[in-house]
Symmetry: none
Subunit: 129 residues, 4 copies
DNA sequence: GTGGTCTAGACCACC
DNA sequence: GTGGTCTAGACCACG
C-alpha cells in the first residue's frame, strides 16, 4: 500500500488519502472485502498524525467505500468498486465540461481546443499501449 | 462594473475579485490606463469590507495587472491585457491536460471523451452565435 | 530569534519583518526546512498585531522564501537561501551603481569617491576581524 | 525649465519636483536671484495639481533654496547654490556609506566591491569625457 | 477624494 | 496548536 502525500499542494492531507484509496478501489488495486491498513500502521508508514488518517477513513465510511468490521478493521465495502468508478467518471466529466466552457469563454479557438484534446489523447494512447 | 461575489463557495472573496478583474482585463472590458473602481466605492457597491477589496487590489499590483497612481487611484498596467490572456490560457491548457490524463487513467473510452468534447464545443458554439 | 522593529522609521512594519527574515535566511541563520516562529508567537514577542506578522509571512510566501505546512507552521522553502542571497546582492549592486552615478553627476571628485570607498571598506574589515 | 516627473516610482511628486530644483540649483542651471516658474505655469506645463507644485515650493522655502519676493514670485536664495551642493554631497556620502556597510554585511567580497566601484567610475569617466 | 498601514477581534479548516 | 480569511474602525501621506 503506497501513497504519495504532498503536504504542500493545498489539498488537505486527509483528502489526499481518501482520494487515493478511492482511486485504488476504482482501479481494482483494492477489492471488495479486502482490509485497508490500520490507522496506526498507515500513520506510522506515512509519518502523519493518526487523527488525520482516522478522518480520511471516517469520510470513506460515510461514502460507503469502507466498512467497519468489529474487532478486525476496515474493509472495502461491497459495491464500492462500482461506486468509486462511477464517482470518478462523473467527476471527470464534470471537470471536462467546466474546463471546456471556460476555454470557450476565454476565446480559445475551438479548433485549437480540438487539437489540444487530440494531442493529449494520442499521447496518452501511446503511453497506455 | 459588475461583479458576482459568492461569499461561501470556498474561494476567498479577495481571490474572486482578483480573478474577475483579471478576466475583465483579459476580455478587454478593462483597458490599459483605465481606472478601476476605488477601494471604498467597490466596497460599498459589493457590501464588502474595504480591507478585502484592498487585498485583492494589492495582489493585482503584485501581479502587475494594476498600478497605483498616488492620490488618484489604481489603473490597469501596460501589458496587463496580454499578461492576463496568457495566464488564463496557460491555466486552461494545463487543466485540460490534467483532466484528460485522469480521464484516460480512469479508463474512460477515448471515443467517449471525444464525443463529450464535441458535444460541449458545439453546444457552446450554438450559444456563442 | 531576535528582530529589531522600529515602528515609525517610514518602512512598514510588515516590510521590516520580511526583510529581516530574508536577511536571516540569506545569512544562514534560518535554514531550509526550519520553522519560523508562529504568527501568534512572534506577534506576542514583538507586541505587534498578528495580522501584521501574517502579512509579512504572506509576502514571504509569495516570494517563495517561506512555505506553509498545514496545521504545522511555516518553514523556510528549498532554494530560499540562494534566492535571498541573490536578491540581496542584486539589490546592493543596483544601489551602489545608482549612488556612484549620482556622485559623478554631482561632480564629486572620483578620487574622493575612491577614498571614501576605501575608508569604509577598511573600517568594516577592522570591525569584521 | 524641464522636469521629468514619474508618478509611478513611489516618490511623492512634490518631492521629485523639489529634488530636481535643488539639483538644478546645485548644478548651476538655476542661479541666485533667478525666478522659478510660477506655481500655475509649472502646474500647467507638467499637468499636475497646483497644490502639489505649491507644496514643493513651500518645502524649498523652508530649506532656504527659494525666497518669496512680494508681487514678483520666487527666486533662488543667496547661498542656495552652495547649500544645495553641500546637501547633495553629504547625502551621497551618507548613502554610499550605507550601501557599503550593507554590502559588507552581505558578505560581498571587498575585492568584488572595489571592482564594482572601479568599473562604475571608469564607465562614468568615459561617458563624462 | 485616493491608496497604504495598523490594530482588534472573530471564525474557519487542519494537524 | 497552526495559518487563512474577514470585518470594523482608525490614522497617515498624497493630489
Amino acid at each position: 500500500m503506497f501513497f504519495h502525500i504532498n503536504p504542500h499542494n493545498g489539498l488537505a492531507i486527509y483528502d489526499q488519502i481518501a482520494r487515493q484509496i478511492k482511486y485504488a478501489v476504482a482501479g481494482g488495486a483494492l477489492r471488495t472485502g479486502e482490509l485497508v491498513p490500520s490507522v496506526r500502521e498507515l500513520a506510522r508508514e506515512l509519518a502523519i498524525n493518526p487523527n488525520t488518517i482516522a478522518r480520511a477513513y471516517r469520510q470513506l465510511q460515510d461514502d460507503r467505500v469502507l466498512r467497519a468490521v468489529r474487532g478486525t478493521g476496515l474493509q472495502v465495502a461491497t459495491g464500492a468498486t462500482e461506486r468509486c468508478q462511477d464517482e470518478r467518471r462523473a467527476l471527470i466529466r464534470d471537470r471536462l465540461r467546466t474546463v471546456l466552457a471556460e476555454a470557450k469563454q476565454s476565446q480559445l479557438d475551438p479548433q485549437e481546443i480540438r487539437q489540444l484534446v487530440e494531442g493529449e489523447l494520442s499521447a496518452l494512447e501511446r503511453e497506455g499501449v
